[in-house]
């Protein structure tokens, strides 16, 4: 029982990334040495934990207990009191909210990032705020999302019922959109610098774009203030916003399509990698805080019941989920940015 448990964890936690067959022969000894050391570390850690837990299992749990609890959870028909849905359904709820949140964050973040990276006015105007929000714990905003978005676990969007909590999605957007905006604007700004140098070299510098950016700025200010004052509804304000951005993009389409968009893709991938980890935390915090059906609620419930095994099982599950998400985003990143130097 114990042995089995140990084997399962070691396999899932490290062996997924490196495949042993593709290393060259002369490196194989070194690779093996590292592998042996890593395995030793994990086995010793799990062994110590197993021994410690044996003295007071309801306090420290044990790797074997944790794994069997996780196994039980994965097959459970009903995990939470009052709430229907098997455990995999709850996992899907959390991941779905995460996915929707990430997609929305990308829309917000890319729009903002392109504006700030491409146009000087927006950079000067908005960069301080972006940097400020970037360096701040955005989980502080989660409670207020409850007040704004309510605690319902589904909502209607254009007549279609979306089975995720609006509040959880909003928390993800708050946590992630800034990260994506930040890396997008950094990437686009870097490209613009290079582009400007090239255009200097070819004597192609022009004042074109200045009028557009100021027109855009004025339109965005109008959209913002009119929405705030209630002259436009939120939807109308957003339409004006995206129309303005669309106008800028169309006027500048060669720059956007040929240079900035392809150039910014690796930066977007980096943004995605960082954002996914924060998004997972945001989802769990949000669900934990008010008990929206999902993984956070399972943790909340296990805490209330002092179920240590389940708490550790959830921690392990989240570790694995986080690891999978990171592995996916890393694969995406290395695919999309293979041509870029590794400095960033």
């Amino acid at each position: 029982m114990e042995h089995q448990g140990i084997d399962v964890t070691t396999e899932t936690s490290i062996d997924t990334e490196t495949s042993p067959s593709d290393g060259k022969a002369r490196f194989s000894f070194r690779m093996n040495r590292i592998r042996v050391l890593q395995l030793t570390g994990i086995v010793v850690f799990l062994g110590l934990w197993e021994l410690l837990g044996a003295r007071k299992p309801e306090w420290y749990s044990q790797p074997s207990l944790t794994l069997s609890e996780l196994w039980r959870l994965l097959g459970a028909e009903k995990v939470l009191p009052y709430i229907e849905g098997s455990f995999p359904v709850l996992v899907m709820k959390s991941l779905g909210a995460l996915l929707v949140g990430i997609v929305l964050s990308f829309i917000v973040g890319i729009t903002l990032g392109f504006l700030i990276g491409r146009y000087r006015v927006f950079r000067v105007a908005l960069d301080p705020y972006l940097a400020a929000i970037y360096s701040v714990p955005r989980v502080a905003f989660v409670p207020i999302m409850v007040v704004w978005f309510g605690i319902g676990d589904k909502f209607l969007a254009g007549g279609i019922e979306i089975p995720f909590s609006k509040f959880v999605i909003a928390s993800v957007v708050v946590a992630c959109s800034v990260l994506i905006a930040f890396s997008t604007s950094a990437g686009v700004h870097e490209l613009m610098k290079e582009y400007n140098e090239i255009s200097y070299a070819f004597n192609l510098r022009s004042s074109r774009g200045k009028v557009e950016e100021w027109t855009g700025a004025v339109l965005l200010i109008i959209a913002f203030l009119a929405t705030a004052a209630g002259w436009l509804t939120l939807v109308q304000g957003l339409i004006l916003l995206f129309a303005t951005v669309g106008l800028l993009v169309v006027r500048d389409r060669h720059m956007f399509l040929k240079i900035l968009l392809p150039g910014a893709v690796p930066f977007l991938a980096t943004g995605l990698r960082i954002a996914v980890q924060r998004a997972l935390i945001a989802v769990i915090v949000a669900e934990f805080l008010i008990g929206v059906p999902g993984l956070g609620f399972v943790i909340r419930d296990a805490r209330a019941a002092y179920n240590t095994d389940r708490l550790f099982a959830m921690a392990l599950l989240l570790m694995v989920l986080g690891g999978i998400l990171i592995a996916i985003t890393k694969a995406v990143e290395s695919r999309l940015s293979s041509w870029r130097p590794k400095a960033f």
């Binding site: 570390g41 000067v124 203030l225 935390i281 550790f312 990171i326």
Partner: protein, 281 residues
């Protein structure tokens, strides 16, 4: 300059009509090129929008700029803000002191000795990758809901930032400078004080900065989920009673402290290590 501009535009063809037509307009726009004018205007627009929106919405869901400002003074004079931040800053600096010492020492050791690094790394990475929020209830179970538990939460958030930054820094410096030092056969002790320590200084400072910033996340979360006496507690308490003006004011202080930490440590970074390194996160 203007002559050069017109010349190049005539050469570059397609841009000619736009620049010719817009010349007077760009002249006026140049007035606004000063970044401070733009920044002040932005601040004015944001504050106006905030105020206007706040005045026409329900005070239960939103607070205008002036009400938030008043609440900020109110919280400051009533001592609530000071009480919350005093306990949180005590937690943060205790935790960061521990994280810094442990992170730097372990970072040095594991940066130098690869076999120790290889043995311990998987476990560290495992804990690092676990969303800390999942460990929070377990910590509450072990250490209760007060100071000790909160310190441990913040350590979990800050330690790995310090540790991984320092370790990776040591690994990089080892390769370059240590070889040169070896060539001059410098003794091991001197190598540590004269080469490895100064070379890793920027990584240590970056690690501390990241540690503090992540520690702030920890301290806010601890306020939500453990004893609610810190700034996180203040926020969740005021939100649950729908007092938006004080909630906004508390959140503003979180932002102010975050920005202050970031700026001051960046300045320190620039002072101590003018050659500065690029951060990864």
């Amino acid at each position: 300059m203007a002559a050069v501009d017109t010349l190049t535009h005539q050469e570059s063809g397609p841009t000619l009509p736009a620049s010719g037509m817009n010349r007077p307009l760009t002249g006026i726009l140049n007035l606004f090129q000063s970044s401070w004018v733009i920044r002040l205007l932005t601040l004015a627009v944001i504050l106006t929008g905030w105020e206007v929106f706040g005045r026409r919405t329900n005070t239960v869901t939103f607070a205008s700029a002036t009400r938030t400002w008043n609440a900020l003074w109110e919280l400051t004079f009533s001592g609530d803000l000071w009480k919350a931040w005093r306990s949180d800053l005590a937690i943060m600096f205790t935790a960061l002191a521990i994280s810094a010492v442990a992170g730097v020492v372990l970072g040095f050791v594991m940066g130098r000795f690869r076999s120790i690094d290889n043995t311990v790394e998987p476990v560290f990475v495992g804990v690092f990758m676990t969303p800390k929020i999942a460990l929070l209830p377990i910590i509450a179970l072990w250490l209760g809901y007060q100071f000790n538990a909160k310190v441990l939460v913040v350590i979990l958030f800050s330690f790995f930032e310090v540790f991984f930054t320092v370790r990776d820094g040591i690994k990089v410096t080892n390769a370059e400078y240590v070889d040169v030092a070896r060539a001059y056969s410098i003794p091991e002790a001197m190598m540590l004080t004269k080469i490895v320590a100064p070379a890793s200084a920027p990584y240590i400072i970056t690690g501390l900065r990241l540690g503090l910033l992540h520690g702030m996340v920890g301290v806010v979360l601890a306020g939500f989920f453990l004893e609610s006496n810190g700034i996180g507690g203040l926020i969740s308490h005021h939100t649950s009673e729908f007092r938006m003006h004080t909630t906004f004011a508390s959140m503003l202080t979180v932002m102010a402290v975050g920005v202050a930490i970031n700026l001051s440590l960046r300045l320190l970074e620039r002072r101590v290590t003018p050659w500065s390194i690029k951060e990864s996160t």
